[in-house]
């Protein structure tokens, strides 16, 4: 271990952001469906959202001053970390209910893990964010765990 993570940084694990509420529109579903190369009519017509539509719906809409030089915004769930270069990781999603236009989704994001590893090219930081999405009634829609890495 190279000891990049301090107790202060690790104290952020378990913290969450205030819930975000977003209405689902047919237009947003159609844009996502076309952009992601869907071929099924129910997605292209916006009758139902593709399974990863929430990735787009809840992507942070940040102002330009909040973008780093590489065009990425800092995840407000994270402490100031010594590695900055973001790389895609992976996700696991459990689905409870399909998403349709007219739904209003509520998302709560929580930092659920933060750890370091040493890779072939040096130290890597990994973090896990859990996203719980429900309807306003509280009915569960999906639970997603995303792992991303910084180098």
């Amino acid at each position: 271990m190279s000891g990049l993570l301090t107790p202060e940084m690790l104290a952020h694990v378990g913290r969450g952001r205030p819930p975000r509420t977003e209405p689902v529109t047919r237009r947003d579903i159609r844009k996502y469906a076309i952009a992601s190369g869907q071929r099924l009519r129910k997605y292209l017509d916006g009758d139902e959202a593709p399974p990863l539509f929430h990735v787009a719906l809840f992507w942070d809409v940040v102002e330009k001053d909040d973008l780093l030089p590489d065009g990425v915004s800092v995840d407000p769930l994270l402490p100031d970390l010594p590695l900055k270069r973001a790389m895609a990781g992976g996700i696991t999603v459990r689905y409870h209910r399909p998403v349709r236009p007219g739904d209003t989704l509520v998302a709560v994001r929580t930092l659920t893990d933060l750890y370091e590893k040493t890779g072939r090219s040096g130290a890597l930081l990994f973090y896990e964010v859990t996203l719980e999405i429900t309807l306003e009634s509280g009915e569960p829609v999906l639970t997603e765990k995303t792992t991303r890495l910084l180098r």
Binding site: A35, G37, Q38, P51, L52, D70, M87
Partner: protein, 139 residues
């Protein structure tokens, strides 16, 4: 679709993708993702040292869901999906998404699927898996 027609190893129809700059633009615009590695060729190659524009990780994940959904149609629902971005892919590459049946749970009417995207060198760049439940209901 019927569970009796399936066996471990039954292949799902695959699909070939050749993402170009327009695909990358539309996908990142739909997300509001301004990461330069997906549209700024000079930055992606000169600063970050990639051989080209990087296909977004969740775009590759989405293609895996499409393998599942086009196969299952209206005969079942997706209950769980997982993927990881193992290797990068670049605009202009030929990528092939596919999968196969890896588990059959007759009692729960569930089918486990193993999924992957391979590049032209036959390297698995995005492995994944899914669980579908036959019939129209989730757990």
């Amino acid at each position: 679709m019927n569970l009796d027609e399936l066996a471990i190893g039954t292949p799902l129809p695959g699909r070939e993708h050749r993402p170009d700059e327009v695909d990358l633009f539309l996908y990142n615009a739909a997300l509001w993702n301004a990461h330069r590695i997906h549209y700024d060729q000079a930055y992606a190659t000169g600063v970050e040292g990639y051989p080209g524009l990087v296909v977004p990780g969740p775009q590759l994940g989405d293609w895996l869901t499409q393998v599942v959904l086009e196969w299952i149609g209206d005969d079942g629902v997706l209950v769980e999906f997982e993927y990881s971005n193992r290797r990068a892919a670049y605009a202009g590459e030929t990528l092939r998404a596919g999968g196969r049946v890896s588990r059959i749970d007759a009692e729960r009417s569930e089918v486990g699927l193993e999924l992957e995207i391979k590049n032209a060198r036959d390297e698995v760049i995005t492995p994944g898996s899914a669980i579908v439940r036959l019939g129209r209901t989730r757990a």
